[in-house]
Amino acid sequence: MQLFRGETVVEYRAGARAVLPFAAVIATVGVLFGFLATAAGLSPLAAVLMSGTTFAGSAQFAAVSVLAGGGTAGAAVTAAALLNTRYVPLGVAIAPALQGSFWKRLVLAQFVVDEAWAVAYLGEGRFSHKRLVGAGVVLYATHVAATAIGTAAATLPADPSAWGLDAAFPALFVILLWPHVQGVSRITAAVLGAIIVLSLTPLTPPGIPVVAAAVASLLGAKGG
């Protein structure tokens, strides 16, 4: 029993250690989020709490970006939630490794972010929930702490647009977009999403065009 317990701790630690290189990237993204969210008008507390309750960087950037453009809370949440649907296939893949009661599975599932999911993968479709938790705890703590640091940086007296920092949002979305534009049909979906925004902008309230762009994903229903 003692041995078993020791092995368990080793596995949590292995997950935490394996994810450390990714933690540096998460820290950078967290600082940037705290900075941009505060610059966009969120209070530092709201920015930190968003990182604490929404452990999903790209959705957070999307939501704040829609708010900064004058969109409603409904449009911001819808656009971000649509991005978060990518956690459904990740969750389905790791589901067999997350055993236990409804509440236990619900909590374990919250540690699923790309990097922790990758670290938990043992190969041949099998996952370790202990490695997931070990990696997830490290990334979560990093994410929330880095956001707090970013909000502090945003209180420095400077005009963000004078330094071109308003270009950080679109540049970040380019970085996030790039791995997804593989193959003709996904590139077409991206172009169609852009065209939808350009054509709806003069006609609808801010925030709606981004949500409407999700329609372009139906290209995926044709296969390919």
Partner: protein, 102 residues
């Protein structure tokens, strides 16, 4: 409640639900290949939409300003597989320079 706090609250709740959907609701059943493929097309469509909104939209009108130069730099950087920090710094620097041109 302000727009920002409402967003924090609703986004947090929806993220918890979406992350739990696979392990709690599906419990081993896999979505169809077609459903997975639609989900896979959401990210490129939405990121492209967010980029266009950030660069070319001001309220309800379309604009062309220094941010477009920053976008071009970011796209070249991503194409050349530059590091994310370099892409962000390059896009910000070029936007600032273009903005301050006479």
């Amino acid at each position: 409640m302000t727009r920002a706090w409402l967003t924090v609250l609703l986004l947090g709740a929806s993220t918890v639900a979406l992350k739990a959907l696979g392990p709690v609701a599906f419990g081993g059943r896999t979505p169809s290949a077609r459903q997975m493929n639609v989900l896979g097309h959401l990210a490129p469509a939405l990121f492209a939409a967010l980029i266009v909104t950030q660069v070319f939209v001001r309220g309800k009108s379309l604009t062309l300003d220094a941010r477009a130069a920053g976008l071009a730099v970011a796209m070249v950087g991503a194409y050349r597989r530059a590091s994310p920090i370099l892409i962000l710094a390059g896009a910000a620097a070029v936007t600032a320079v273009v903005r301050h041109l006479p």
